[in-house]
């Protein structure tokens, strides 16, 4: 009976402490919310007048627009495996593509390692190729479990890249594919594979220097 009373008192004590801590926490938050404007903003507001601010806002919005690329744009959504060909804000074409698999290849007994991601960021079309030839890099042989050839001609593959290719640097291309049924999935070694009809439309529209945004 006595033991029960001790437990009850301890429990009640803990509950009181907990409620006090909760109230203290909430009071601090309420105080913080009543001062919702950060100090630096409050100081900034005091220094400026409304008309100046509105004029500056127009100026800044205009300035941001000057950074935006004009003309044809290629946007690549690597998560959704979609390529958007745009002219300014106008959508010209949406294509189902294949982007990097995210897989890792390590050279057996060696030190080299490759991560097959499609690189993200801002790029530009650097080269436009018709009937492109793929010069297979070392990883293409290692992945197949083959020996890396010493003869350059053994690296030439004339079939894999389709009818057109647009290079955007570091050996990455937007190109055609033999594996059209895998379009829409992340299966490539970093390049962007596109179906034939979409690839031709992109190739016709994009020129050298066309901006590519990959995200």
């Amino acid at each position: 009976m006595n033991k029960n009373k001790v437990y009850r008192t301890a429990l009640l004590g803990l509950a009181i402490v907990w409620v006090c801590l909760e109230i203290a926490g909430y009071t601090i938050v309420l105080f913080q919310h009543s001062r919702k404007i950060p100090d630096e903003l409050e100081k900034f507001i005091a220094e400026k007048n409304l008309r100046d601010l509105q004029a500056k806002n127009r100026q800044l919005a205009g300035r941001i627009k000057t950074f935006s690329p004009r003309g044809t744009l290629i946007l690549v959504d690597t998560a959704e495996n979609r390529l958007y060909l745009k002219e300014g804000t106008k959508m010209l074409r949406e294509a189902v593509v294949s982007c990097g698999s995210g897989e890792v290849l390590e050279e057996p007994g060696g030190t080299r390692k490759w991560v097959f991601d499609t690189p993200r960021g801002e790029y530009a079309v650097q080269s436009k190729l018709v009937d492109p030839t793929w010069i297979k890099p070392d990883w293409a042989f290692i992945e197949e479990g083959e020996k890396v050839p010493k003869n350059f001609n053994d690296r030439i593959d004339e079939d894999s890249l389709g009818d057109f290719a647009l290079g955007f640097g570091n050996g990455y291309f937007i190109h055609g594919t033999l594996y059209t049924r895998l379009l829409g999935r992340n299966v490539t070694h970093g390049c962007i594979r596109v179906g034939d009809a979409d690839l031709e439309a992109i190739f016709q529209k994009a020129g050298s220097g066309t901006r590519i945004y990959i995200y």
Partner: protein
């Protein structure tokens, strides 16, 4: 008498207009800070995020153009208001981080339907984003009914126990913090945001005064 009354009325109207003008000024100042921070980011080629709680959306942008937009379901704030400036994402945390698969040389997988590659479906839907100045953004999708009870228990514990105690603890240490709870419209959006947001990428959290 009439002059006095009209004078008093004019004074009354002028006094009424003061808070409205102050609000307008605050809005303009907040917009200025947003645009100023974005102008600095748009100058560079890297893409950046804007969590815009006015528009209830998260924007992925580059050079001022919108690359992708996610609608927000709900958002809740706790703690100090966030300054309108660019923050770099320090860390993405999740219970089950996606794992890359190692390729076994010699095993052709182009014909394999179950490729085991890293795709959007493999991304976590519940995670948190840590920024400098003790800013933490928890992201989750709207819950499916089955998980609603467990989620509510978790959210209640977090909101009514963990956060008040954390506030108290950090206040005693004279430190402030900000917690944002983002509820994405669906699981796919939540996963896509995880995919798109890279550590080191800049983000502006725009939470204008209501």
């Amino acid at each position: 008498m009439l002059k006095k009354a009209s004078g008093a009325l004019a004074l009354f109207l002028w006094l009424l207009s003061i808070p409205a003008a102050a609000d307008e000024k605050t809005k303009a100042a907040e917009m200025y800070q947003l645009l100023d921070a974005e102008a600095a980011l748009a100058k560079a080629p890297s893409s950046y995020f804007i969590m815009d709680f006015n528009e209830k959306a998260v924007f992925l942008k580059a050079r001022g153009i919108v690359l992708k937009k996610w609608e927000l379901g709900k958002a809740k704030f706790w703690g100090k208001a966030v300054s309108i400036k660019a923050f770099k994402l320090m860390k993405k945390s999740t219970w089950f981080p996606p794992k890359r698969k190692n390729i076994v040389p010699g095993k052709d997988e182009q014909g394999n339907v179950d490729l085991g590659v890293l795709e959007l479906k493999d991304m976590p839907a519940i995670y948190s984003l840590t920024f400098p100045d003790r800013i933490r953004v928890s992201v989750r999708p709207k819950s499916r009914k089955f998980f609603l009870f467990f989620r509510n228990v978790g959210t209640a514990f977090r909101r009514y126990t963990y956060l008040p105690l954390k506030t108290l603890w950090l206040s005693l240490k004279k430190k402030s913090f900000t917690e944002v709870e983002l509820v994405m419209a669906n699981e796919r959006d939540s996963k896509a945001l995880f995919w798109a947001f890279l550590e080191g990428q800049s983000c502006i959290i725009y939470q204008p005064r209501k």
